[in-house]
């Protein structure tokens, strides 16, 4: 689709907004509808669109496989890290109240980081699935199975 003008232009226009919207959903999750899962999916959708328009190879240059796997891992680590932070700060595992002197702020902070972890992991998983399916038939040797 690289040679089709309209999708290219529209894609270039839309993709930043999609990513931005994903971030909005992510950060606004506290107050309105949204949260890490939705944000992760939206973010991944933006990148999938990129791959559809500019080709998988280009997308893979932008977001390499290693980064996707790293995202998978980092998300879980962030989540678990928040939990451990609770322990280090004197609370129980996943205890948000102790993350800030003010318990309400602590709650916000805890939820925020947990949602970041979820978003990163979900995005990573989506992209990984997309890459695996998209790569089939082109460079099968790349698959991890």
């Amino acid at each position: 689709m690289v040679n089709d003008l309209i999708p290219r232009v529209l894609g270039k226009l839309l993709i930043p907004f999609i990513l931005l919207f994903a971030l909005y959903v992510q950060f606004h999750g506290d107050f309105g509808p949204g949260g890490g899962f939705q944000a992760g999916v939206l973010f991944a959708a933006g990148i999938v669109l990129h791959a559809l328009i500019f080709g998988l190879a280009n997308t893979r240059r932008v977001i390499p496989d290693a980064l996707v796997e790293a995202m998978l891992a980092c998300g879980v680590l962030i989540y678990a890290g928040v939990g451990l932070a609770g322990i280090l700060l004197g609370g129980n595992y996943l205890d948000y109240f102790v993350l800030d002197p003010n318990p309400v702020h602590g709650q916000h902070r805890g939820i925020f980081w947990v949602e970041v972890g979820v978003a990163v992991t979900v995005c990573g998983v989506m992209l990984q699935i997309f890459y695996l399916f998209a790569a089939r038939g082109h460079d099968g040797a790349d698959g991890t199975d």
Binding site: G75, A80, G83, L84, G86, Y93, D145
Partner: protein, 504 residues
Amino acid sequence: MSLAQHLPALQVVLPLISAPLAVLLRHGGVAFLLVTAGAWAAFAAAVALWLQVDLLPAGGVLTYHIGNWAPPWGIEYRVDRLTSFVLVLVSGTAALVLTYGHASIEREIARASHYLYYAMFALCLAGLLGITITGDAFNVFVFLEISSLATYVLIALGRDRRALTASYRYLILGTIGATFFVIGVGFLYLLTGTLNIADMGARLRDVENPRAVLAALAFLTVGISLKLALFPLHQWLPNAYTHAPSTVTAFLAATATKVSVYVLIRFYFGVFGESLVFQRLPLPEIMLGLSLLALFAANLIAVFQDNLKRMFAYSSVGQIGYITLGLSFDSVHGLTASIVHLFNHGVAKAAIFLLIGGLVLGIGRPGAPPPVPTFKHLAGLARRMPLTCLGIVLAGLSLIGVPGTGGFISKWYLVLAAMEQRQYWLVGAILLSSLLAVAYVWRFVEAAYFRPVPGDGGVVREAPLVMLIPAWILVAASIWFGLDTSLTVGSALDAAQSLLRSGT
């Protein structure tokens, strides 16, 4: 706040964290170190928890509130005697298998996937530990899925292409099992409005709609029975065990089905209560029948297998029959037998599959994909791999239930339980079925010790020490727990008594 207080959380979190780290670092060797360290840390935590529970008065429970939310609302981790017992088994096996596995994994899994293997192993371990320790029914489901998904990947990592279909079959059936489980939990949630297992049990007594409770019980029973491979829902197991990498087989055989049994015990005694499950319903009869079928049919099938791993996989199905048989008695002795056998069989089976892993390594040619360990390969092997073969025979004695091995202890309690209820024919059945175990262990002995070495035997080396030592630790344990029963029987008796007391 000391570290000791957070052990219940750390128990699960330590292996859990090692998984993403292993993925992040993308290097097999580093992943091995990380995950193995995580498993040993989990083992240390499990032992520490065991000691902590030991200090509590009889029937005492350690609880840990995740996120500091009080139990009926928040997720609670509960550690009692039975829990810590299973935790020690699971984490201990994982630590030994991981330590053992490096050499075997080098041969059985493509190098590029090593870090994946370790990550999945860590996830599986974390999932199993989570199932065991959590006191929240939905959390059980989550951890069940974590461990199951990791298990499917681990099985699919086997070099044999049939590993993929085996994994796929397990995926289908495992998902059905998990779905049934979650349907059951859903029913219970609707009826009681809580997900906390202890709370559920308390509120269920006041529930007026027995039909819905029965449906929940049926779904849970079938779902968990699938995961624990109760005959005739066992068909996923032989293929999965046969085609998975040796270390995976060893780990799963010792832990996965055992944790499922644990969940079943938790739900039967903790939620539904003894009187409903065992006195008002024909469940003990059904379970007795299915257990007997497992004892005879699965053991008989095992005798005819040609593939060593498959033979011992079927033997696992048979041995699970002993565990469920103990459950069906609904007595302290029966439950003790179940819990003890869960442990003793896990230890012996892990030892056997680890040694088979060494055997596969020994008979294979360097560089070639690992061969399938059939009886053809076994001819005269005892002379060339004496330690491996001797270890398999010794652990096999525990499967038979020879006095002086762990298996004897479990059978002793089973027989006592049967006699208590004056079911002498069952005593005969239990003892007869152990003759079938004799038959398949005997087949191994005959092939390994008495058949001449074939002319084109090729080069066969004894397995490396790094593999033999963990395997032999397990072999020694299976004999040790046949002689000194204070740990196994002590904990099991304690757990059985408190379970039966709380159920009434």
